[in-house]
Subunit: 349 residues, 2 copies
């Protein structure tokens, strides 16, 4: 039937096949199937569509991208897709991209700067409409400059860059209001009667960690409360990091602490596990608060007090920013955060 039968490697039908099958020219077939200006006779149109259906034709997106010099994909970089923080953002991003019929390519950096830079280079090869970088930016990390250069080069050749994090690089950014959220959390906790705090933070070069810690400290300072530096420990931005931070705090002694703020929920949950393993009753012996409001936060016992970040909306937003031609690199979209007081921080009488 088809020419493919005698070929060794099977191959998808091309527009050429469709045109031949329909008895029209390549151009007509192209116009009937993918043309923007639908200036094609209804009869021919029908014939082409039928032929395409009969052949089970699917346009080769790569070829289209080459021909029009414009691809229909975006690239999304995350630190760790199994982390609910990033998978929520990804969910929103994929949905928004999907609405515009563009595909999302995902890549994972594992919080490795060099890897991130390398991925940007590789992904540029896809000529995506946009590259979205999620995850905290770093301070004092040399590769940030190279990353910035790479992204600038990409943007200078027609690409769009959107960051979901801090605006430390000159690109459109969805800012997360970490300082504000943490400050508000501190206020509410003081309002609930807490006075003596410890913090499990992340690497100090991690701006998200820094912003949350300083925002929290500011909120306390408004009430004349200070956190002793020795009560701020640093650990990895993961559940295990939270456990280790808690262990360190336990070793330091927690007699003069009534609430531990972990800079994200994943760490907070790890910390809760460690505290409990050490024999502490939560929240009676110790209160814990986190940040992000990942799904698990409401399911742990006691339910975790945290700051809700509309993660899926953030992802959608980033894509809209990326795909909206009007957006320029100086765009900064702040996203609000909401304090959620739950059982892990009961009011102190």
């Amino acid at each position: 039937m088809s020419v493919d039968e005698h070929r060794s490697t099977p191959v998808p039908p091309t527009l050429h096949d469709v045109a031949r099958e329909a008895g029209v020219s390549l151009a007509t077939a192209s116009r009937a199937l993918n043309g923007s200006t639908r200036t094609v006779n209804e009869t021919f149109r029908r014939r082409v569509l039928d032929a395409a259906l009969r052949l089970n034709y699917t346009p080769n997106l790569s070829a289209q991208a080459v021909a029009k010099g414009l691809s229909s994909t975006i690239s999304l970089l995350v630190s760790d897709i199994a982390d609910p923080y990033f998978s929520s953002i990804a969910a929103g991003a994929i949905r928004a991209a999907d609405e515009q019929r563009i595909a999302t390519t995902m890549a994972v950096t594992h919080r490795d700067h060099e890897r991130e830079l390398e991925l940007v280079r590789v992904l540029r090869g896809q000529r995506p409409r946009a590259i979205i970088l999620t995850g905290s930016r770093w301070d004092g990390v040399a590769s940030e400059h190279r990353l910035s250069d790479e992204l600038a080069a990409y943007e200078s050749t027609g690409g769009r860059v959107v960051l979901v994090s801090q605006r430390t690089l000159p690109f459109a950014t969805v800012q997360l209001g970490n300082a504000t959220g943490a400050r508000e959390l501190a206020r509410e906790l003081v309002g609930a009667g807490y006075r003596r705090f410890a913090v499990i933070a992340g690497d100090d070069r991690l701006l998200t960690s820094r912003e949350r810690v300083s925002g929290f400290a500011e909120g306390l300072a408004e009430h004349g409360i200070a956190i002793h530096p020795s009560r701020i420990v640093r650990a990895e931005f993961t559940r295990d990091g939270g456990r280790q931070g808690a262990a360190e705090l336990l070793q330091l002694g927690l007699d003069d602490v009534d609430l531990v703020f972990a800079v994200n929920d994943v760490m907070a949950i790890g910390a809760m596990s460690a505290f409990r393993a050490a024999g502490l009753r939560l929240p009676e012996d110790l209160a814990v608060a986190g940040y992000d409001d990942i799904a698990t936060s409401r399911d742990v016992t006691p339910a975790l007090t945290t700051v809700a970040v509309p993660l899926e909306a953030v992802g959608e937003h980033a894509v809209r920013l990326a795909l909206d031609p009007a957006t320029d690199s100086s765009t900064t979209e702040p996203v609000g955060a909401t304090v959620l007081l739950r059982e892990s921080t009961p009011p102190r009488t």
Copy 2:
């Protein structure tokens, strides 16, 4: 300097630009940069590489794909990327794909058959090396046939299909051993002293749900225990579904039940929340077990008894299967499951 300066739309440098800059032919530049057989003079090679670096050149992957008729991407379909079950599989898949320097395009079906079918059609346009479908297959759903046809068409034109689920379609499949895992869970639970069970299942056409329920029932039957049909409720495969299932069970009355098995952890956790809200103490008043061993399971209180599925490994495995040319469609890779008895099902004396 460059011709782009006078152009309205900025454009990335092409191989042509690099060749000109290096003073060599297009072919030489191609060979030096991307050629497999590195039969190129070291001097020229240097010159080309330098030029590429100077121009910040990145090969256009779409063009490469068109030229060699082979793309460097795979497509991964998941039901819901924010669900830890799927994000874990995705993490493994992305990692494995990455190792082979191929990019992963993600799409989300939201458990909608029509959408899934449509996505397969769209994704075929990318000419991915492989399409990986994760998520339970359905029984008695008409679109399954059309999906199968679509996938067959894709495979007949050189693509590869891998399913992560049940082998109900004639494609390479990573099978999850749901029945076995559930049977083993039932045995262990009986061994722990439980005798009276209820089940929160999913849609009965969802094979994953069916397999887990029937496997569980089989395990009980070995000990002469049966589950009364009225003690099996059905709900959505989500946390809210779990809540609703629990609510239904509560309404039915749980006096004659000492353990509730929810067919996945997400539902089990939702159910725990609902049971607790209804005033039940867990696990004293009621034991609960789930399936999948998502990260949250060990963080809830009481820690959830479940069946561990090596999700990330499953994802990696699916990609290897997809990319290994030796694999044929009849390949079936079973994956073991491990019962994890935790505090939500303490031994009954």
